[in-house]
């Protein structure tokens, strides 16, 4: 049946040619097996006739159950269907387990509840903030019923994200799907609004799937929001996700997914000529994101939720029929356990892990103690040896930059991250213990992002950006009070290096400034959020192989990692409450910096080659030296005794 349907779809796609004045891209035409589509409005009438905004719920809903799909998509719900209880909320002001309602210091604004006496972001503000990274549907339908899930974002060849963002920023959610097609030749922006171009439609009023470039979601679609996943090809890879204004997840977890060798990329990498490995070995081997993070009911990849699989079966082959899957493809995608407890966490452990495809025992017999290594470490520990893209190190909202943003520091770079000339030296991950699907614990590479910010009141809430701005700025410049406190070189201005609260006096001064603008009981706090580093996977040629990397005094298991260069005085951040991994070490102040100093024993690890137990070694040295000293003294005394005048006695 599945084959028949595919054949039918292929025949439809390769059917008689229609006249379409603006030609569809040939490459996309070759890729798509999707039938032609009639673009419909919310009233189910063809928009070519009515001029109404496109409703993908009605358009795609002709064959796919769009409402069901939207209801089974955590990208759409954004966590709005997973309210926190009082016990599991990570922060007192977090409401939902997802970007909807879970506050992030990287974004800062807090979605306020109705009746909040000091509201921060309302729904409209939140939608503008997140809209360009939200697929639509879910909570934003509350804002506008037409704010539907936008299928074109992931399933069309070249969605116009900027045009869509403009309509969202303008609050015109109902046009967001239409705007996504700008550039396809089907629609154009006019002074009167969006207009359809009849010549681009087929004679029967439909649109060819080739023109839309309809296809299964590609890695490039995922990369739009999650990092950098450029299309395969000779064009040198760049890192477009390095946007300081809107931090991408790729800035926390290093997602760069490309099969292009690093040394051929357009990124200014340290030691670039030596980096002949691809950005990610899986991309080079033609894998796409959905191969590991597939739909839970995908009959091909079988990314079934293992919790629903009978325990006695190693594989459940009774998958959904293809035509049923195409009607109801689950858009809750398989996830691992590495995400920081937010989107898709309810499906943790469903994604394909390395061991689902690779038999490490077959390929790691060269490794001493292979079973022990594989028992103690996730594959990524050696196969993500270094992240070659900038990562956020710390975000400090206790001060505001002249651009009204936080002071942000990045790992692995020596300049501005969005300057193509900046040298990217990369970052050696922090190794933290993480639970496996089986309940054991292994170490895996992570990035630690520390954040500092002000909270107010009781129960606490983050100080609103508007209040921070009022405390720091007056008519476009820092207030005289702020300048007085922070201007250490007395040049009358606050330079970038002076923008820090490294003394109790400065902290108290800013707290006073906040109180002066009406912020109740402001105090600086901090938190640490670990992010798993599971991409930029290296093949065997570039994976860690040198024993000394871990089994030496300079082991990466024991090396301190900077959490913040100049943290606010008196603030020691703790791990975010719902962190999927614990810290296995100490957070210490050293040399003005805040550092994480790992201790393998806290991760239930004993690593040969790190000098072991200091007390035992001291006792050992003491015993050896004691024996040596005793021998020297005793032997010396014997020599001295022999040199005394002989008493003449013959003892032979």
């Amino acid at each position: 049946m599945s084959v028949a349907l595919l054949t039918l779809l292929t025949l439809v796609a390769s059917g008689p040619e229609h006249e379409a004045p603006p030609p569809a891209p040939a490459a996309e035409a070759a890729r798509s097996v999707h039938p032609d589509v009639v673009l419909r409005g919310a009233d189910a009438q063809p928009v070519l006739q009515t001029g109404a905004p496109i409703s993908l719920t009605k358009t795609c809903g002709e064959c796919h159950e769009a409402d069901w799909i939207e209801a089974h998509s955590y990208h759409s719900a954004f966590g709005s269907n997973r309210p926190y209880t009082d016990e599991d909320r990570p922060r007192p002001w977090d409401r939902f387990a997802g970007p909807w309602g879970r506050w992030s210091p990287l974004v800062y604004q807090r979605l306020s509840e109705p009746g909040d006496p000091r509201p921060d972001a309302d729904l409209a503000t939140w939608a503008r903030l997140w809209g360009r990274r939200h697929v639509g549907g879910g909570p934003v339908r509350e804002l506008a019923p037409e704010a539907e899930m936008n299928c074109l974002l992931c399933h069309s060849a070249k969605p116009n994200l900027e045009a869509r963002a403009r309509t969202i920023d303008a609050g015109e959610w109902r046009w967001q799907s239409t705007a996504t097609l700008e550039g396809s030749g089907l629609v154009e922006a006019t002074e009167a609004g969006w207009a359809y171009v009849p010549d681009a439609f087929l004679p029967d009023g439909a649109v060819s799937a080739a023109r839309l470039g309809l296809h299964a979601a590609s890695a490039q679609a995922c990369g739009t929001c999650h990092g950098a996943a450029p299309a395969p090809g000779p064009t040198p890879v760049t890192l477009p996700h390095l946007d300081r204004a809107r931090p991408s997840p790729g800035l926390t977890d290093g997602l760069v997914y490309s099969g292009q060798p690093m040394h051929l990329s357009g990124v200014n990498l340290a030691g670039k000529t030596e980096l002949t490995r691809p950005w990610d070995i899986h991309a080079e081997r033609m894998l796409s994101c959905s191969d590991c993070h597939g739909a839970l009911n995908d009959p091909v990849h079988g990314s079934r939720d293992k919790k629903e699989q009978p325990a006695h079966l190693r594989a459940e082959v009774r998958g959904m029929a293809l035509q049923d899957y195409l009607r109801r493809p689950d858009h809750d995608f398989a996830t691992g356990r590495a995400a920081p407890g937010v989107l898709g966490a309810q499906h943790a452990g469903t994604m394909k892990r390395c061991e689902d495809c690779h038999d490490a025992n077959q390929t790691h017999q060269w490794l001493p103690y292979p079973a022990r290594h594989l028992q103690a470490m996730f594959c990524e520990t050696c196969h993500v040896p270094r992240v070659h893209s900038p990562l956020i190190e710390s975000v400090d909202w206790t001060v505001l930059t002249p651009e009204r943003g936080p002071r942000t520091r990045y790992r692995g770079v020596t300049g501005a991250i969005d300057d193509p000339g900046t040298l990217i030296s990369g970052f050696e991950p922090v190794l933290l213990p993480r639970a496996t699907d089986g309940g054991a614990t292994k170490v895996a590479p992570h990035n630690l992002v520390s954040a500092f910010y002000w909270v107010e009141g009781d129960p606490p809430t983050p100080v609103r950006l508007v209040d921070l701005e009022a405390a720091f700025f007056w008519e476009g410049d820092y207030t005289p009070g702020i300048v007085l406190v922070l201007d250490e070189d007395h040049d009358g201005r606050v330079g970038p290096d002076e923008l820090r609260l490294d003394t109790e006096v400065k902290v108290a001064a800013v707290a006073a400034a906040l109180e002066a603008v009406g912020v109740p009981s402001p105090r600086a706090v901090g938190e640490i959020q670990p992010y798993a580093l599971s991409h930029q996977v290296a093949g065997h040629g570039f994976a860690l192989k040198d024993c000394a990397t871990c089994h030496s005094e300079g082991s990466r298991f024991t090396q301190p990692t900077r959490l913040a260069a100049q943290p606010p005085a008196g603030v020691v951040p703790g791990l975010v409450k719902d962190s999927p991994v614990p810290l296995a070490g100490d957070v210490v102040h050293e040399g003005g910096e805040l550092r994480y100093v790992p201790t393998p024993a806290k991760a239930q690890l004993y690593l040969l080659g790190q000098g072991g137990n200091t007390v035992v070694d001291l006792a050992g040295w003491a015993s050896v030296l004691l024996v040596l000293a005793g021998s020297i003294l005793h032997g010396g005394a014997r020599v001295m005794a022999r040199r005394r005048p002989d008493d003449g006695e013959d003892r032979s």
């Binding site: 001493p368 000098g611 006792a619 050896v624 005793g630 003892r651």
Partner: protein, 212 residues
């Protein structure tokens, strides 16, 4: 002085095999334990060689035990309860006073009584406590990947490795002490070492009254 055949060929081979294995185990063990202090083989090969040497030590210990049991020469290692305290004190007195006055050894050596009371106690501890402890912890560390549940039941690799390391330090101290005391065993500084090479040692002619 008279020449006495104290050490059989097998005993000498056993001794030097054991000595070589222990010395190399200490060196490779130090490289595994703290690679930044010794860098001879590299960590990977140091682990491999250490394991092979450990196996050699284990085999030698097992063969030695079989030999000592089957020939009955194991009795020479067992402290004799009778007069043990007084003989041990005489040996202590010899080390503290007599040796400086060039007095004869308080206990005459014979093929079946080659060891003084202090040696017997020491070897009893080394061969029955320290060596087995070292072998067992070493095997468990090596076998940790094969029998992880056993290792976990014993507290994990950490405690095992700590015991193994402590025992290694004690072995190092013992080796130093053993080498030095060997210089006190014969009538010259090197007589003890030569005795373990040739099997023959020259012992005093006169019979001290304490000797048996």
């Amino acid at each position: 002085m008279r020449r006495v055949y104290l050490h059989t060929v097998y005993e000498r081979i056993w001794h030097w095999w054991q000595a070589l294995a222990i010395m190399l185990l200490l060196v490779t063990g130090l490289e595994v334990h703290a690679p930044h202090t010794v860098a001879l083989l590299g960590f990977r090969y140091a682990v491999f060689v250490h394991n092979v040497l450990g196996l050699a030590l284990l085999l030698n210990a097992a063969l030695g035990l079989f030999y000592q049991l089957s020939t009955g020469r194991i009795r020479s290692f067992l402290p004799e309860p009778r007069d043990f305290i007084s003989l041990a004190l005489r040996q202590v007195r010899y080390y503290l006073r007599g040796i400086f006055k060039d007095e004869p050894h308080p206990i005459a050596k014979t093929p079946m009584k080659r060891l003084n009371p202090l040696q017997r106690v020491t070897y009893l501890a080394i061969l029955n406590v320290l060596l087995p402890l070292q072998i067992v912890t070493g095997v468990l560390i090596w076998g940790g990947q094969r029998w992880p549940s056993v290792v976990q039941a014993l507290g994990g690799l950490g405690p095992l490795a700590t015991i193994h390391t402590l025992a290694a330090w004690l072995f190092a101290a013992f080796v130093l002490m053993h080498v030095y005391l060997t210089t006190t065993a014969g009538h010259t500084w090197s007589a003890g070492v030569l005795g373990m090479i040739t099997g023959w040692e020259e012992v005093e002619n006169h019979q001290p009254k304490e000797s048996q």
